[in-house]
Symmetry: C2
C-alpha cells in the first residue's frame, strides 16, 4: 500500500477546533490551550484480540476504537478535541476497508467536533489501531478515581454486561441488534460527564474491564470501601433472558461497556440525576461509600442478602466482617 | 503476561515536568500549559519491519523508538516534555526484555527530563511500539516546512546515510561501532533545534526517509525550488569506503538518520553556525533556495557538474531548464 496516497485520502479538508495551530502535514501537530487543562490518553485495539472481521466490519473497528478513547476522556470530565491515529496494516486489509475504518472514527469525531491532527501508518502482520486522544477540561476540574468519600452514593451509567452479551450474540448467530450494537458501537458518556463540571466533586472511572475491576480501582485510589448492592446493578433484561448462566458474571466483569462508574455526595445526587435527564443518560445508584478501617479500600457486594468481598476479577468471597 | 504487574514495574516513581497535573494511574493524564504552544506527534515501530532481534537488543528498540519521536519534536523547534507508550506484545517477548525496552526509552527521557505519563499494553502477534510525544515551544515559534524563502541557505545536521550503512554492517557482520550505533541509537537534534528559537525564521524538517524526500517536502510546502550540491552533502568517509556502490543512494534516501534538514536566511546563517558550535552539532550548508517559477516547488541537484531533478525516492532525472 502506498502510505502517502492513503494518508492523502483520509486527511481532513478543514479543522474545527480553534485551539489548533497546525494539523496534519508537518513533523507534528501544534495547538495552544491557555484557559483549560489538557487531558490525554492512548488506547490500542488488535485484530483477533479485541475484534475480528467475523465480529466487526472495518467501520465498527474504527468507531469502537475511538469510542473507547472517548470514554477515557469522559471519565476525566473532559471535552474531546483532537486525536492521532497509529495504524499497523497487514496485507489482508485493503484501502477500501481502511477508508471504512476511518469513516467509523469520523462518525464519532464529527459528533464531538474533534479534529484528526496526525498519525502514522506502517505495515505489519495484524491490524493494530492505536489512538491518542486529547480533551480539554476547566482548570482543576478533571475527575479522578481518588476523590470518593465516605457517605457518597455509588452510581453507574447505562446497562452493564451488554457488550459482552452482544459479542456472544454475534459469535453464536443470535440476531439481537441492540446488544450487538452495544459491542460494536458503544456510547461514550461524553455529554453527561462534561455537564458534571458544575459539581464541586465527583469521582469517575471508565468501565472498560467491568465494574468489579473499576469499583476496586476507586476503592483503592480513594482508600474507602464501596458497598454495592447486586440487585441494583443495571442490566438489560434480554441479557438475563438469553444468557441465564452467564449474565451475573458479565454484569460485573464482562467489560467493554464504556459506561461510567462514579461516586458523588448525597447532597449532589439530585444534580447528577438532573444532568442525566438533560443528556438522555440512564444513571442508577448501586451502592454507598463507607470509611475503610485500614485504609486499604475494598469492595463489598450484597447479593441474596449475603455480603461478600468483590475482587477485581469479579469473584466474590465471604470474609469475616471487620470491626 | 500480567499487564498490571508489568505496568507497576515500569511506572515512574516521580515526575519532573512542573506542568504535569496527573500522570499514570487514572483514565488519562492531565497537564496545563498556558505560556507555550503544545506540539504532539505519534510514531510506530513494528518488529520485522523496522527492526528485528537480530539487528537490535530490546534496549535499542526502546531507545530508537523514542529517538525517532524526539526527532519530530526537534524538527518543530520544541522542547520534549511527555510521552505515552502503546505496546503490542507477542508471546516471544518476556518481561525482562520489555523492561530493557523501557530502559532504552528511559535513558533518553532522563536526558531530556521527560515524563512517561501513560500508555496501553496489549497482546498480539508481533511487537509494535507506538509512542506519542508532547513538546513545548514558545508561542508562534514552532518551525514548519512551509517557511523557506528564495535566497535561503539549505543546511543539514550530522552525516547522512549512516543509519542505513550501520544496518548493513549489522546484517553482514561488519564490526563498525560508530555506524551500528547510528542505526540503533540515533541522536535527535533536540538541543540544537531548541536554541534556534532565537531566530525569527528557520525552516526545519526531520530526516526520517532521507533528504531526497525531505527536501521535496520543504520545496512543495514552501512553493520554492531547492538547489542542492551533491558534493556538499555530509557523510561519513567509512560509508563510502565500505559501500562504494551504495553510499550515494544511502546519503540521499537511506533514511532513519533522524538529522534535521533546514533553510535559513543568509543573514542568520552565522547564528545557526554559532548554535551548532554551542550544541556540538555538525551543520553543513548543502544548497540554496530559489524562486519556483510555477510555484510547484522542485528539488534540483548538481552532481559532477550536471543539474538534475531530485525526486522524493532519491532518483534523479535530467530536465530541460525552465525559463
Amino acid at each position: 500500500m502506498d502510505e502517502f496516497s492513503f494518508i492523502k485520502s483520509i486527511q481532513p479538508t478543514g479543522y474545527r477546533q480553534s485551539s489548533l495551530i497546525k494539523g496534519i502535514n508537518d513533523d507534528a501537530a501544534v495547538f495552544r490551550q491557555t484557559s483549560q487543562d489538557i487531558v490525554t490518553s492512548v488506547d490500542t485495539m488488535v485484530e483477533e484480540v479485541h475484534f475480528s472481521k467475523k465480529t466487526m466490519t472495518p467501520y465498527h473497528v474504527g468507531y469502537r476504537a475511538l469510542a473507547a478513547n472517548l470514554s477515557d476522556l469522559a471519565a476525566m470530565g473532559s471535552t474531546p478535541a483532537f486525536y492521532l491515529v497509529s495504524l499497523v496494516v497487514p496485507k489482508g486489509w485493503n484501502k477500501e476497508e481502511l477508508s471504512e475504518l476511518y469513516r467509523g472514527m469520523q462518525e464519532l469525531s464529527d459528533k464531538y467536533q474533534m479534529d484528526l491532527i496526525g498519525g502514522d501508518t506502517v505495515s505489519g502482520k495484524e491490524l493494530c489501531v492505536s489512538i491518542t486522544v486529547f480533551g480539554y477540561v476547566i482548570k482543576r476540574m478533571a475527575r479522578y478515581r481518588n476523590s470518593a468519600l465516605a457517605g457518597d452514593i455509588v452510581f453507574a451509567t447505562g446497562t452493564l454486561g451488554d457488550a459482552r452479551a452482544g459479542l456472544e450474540c454475534i459469535l453464536t448467530g443470535q440476531d439481537e441488534p441492540f446488544l450487538m450494537g452495544r459491542h460494536r458501537m458503544p456510547s461514550p458518556r461524553v455529554h453527561f460527564a462534561e455537564k458534571l463540571t458544575v459539581l464541586e466533586r465527583v469521582t469517575l472511572n471508565d468501565v472498560s474491564d467491568g465494574i468489579a475491576n473499576e469499583s476496586n480501582e476507586i476503592a483503592e485510589a480513594s482508600a474507602v470501601d464501596l458497598h454495592l448492592d447486586f440487585e441494583k446493578v443495571p442490566y438489560s433484561p434480554s441479557v438475563a433472558t438469553l444468557f441465564p448462566d452467564k449474565y451475573e458474571e458479565w454484569i460485573l466483569s464482562g467489560g467493554e461497556d464504556f459506561e461510567l462508574l462514579g461516586t458523588v455526595s448525597e447532597k449532589d445526587w439530585s444534580k447528577v440525576q438532573e444532568i442525566a435527564k438533560q443528556t438522555n443518560t440512564v444513571v442508577t445508584p448501586i451502592g454507598v461509600v463507607k470509611e475503610s478501617v485500614d485504609q486499604e479500600g475494598r469492595v463489598y457486594m450484597v447479593k441474596n442478602g449475603e455480603k461478600s468481598i468483590l475482587n477485581k476479577s469479579g469473584y466474590t468471597h465471604l470474609q469475616e466482617e471487620r470491626d
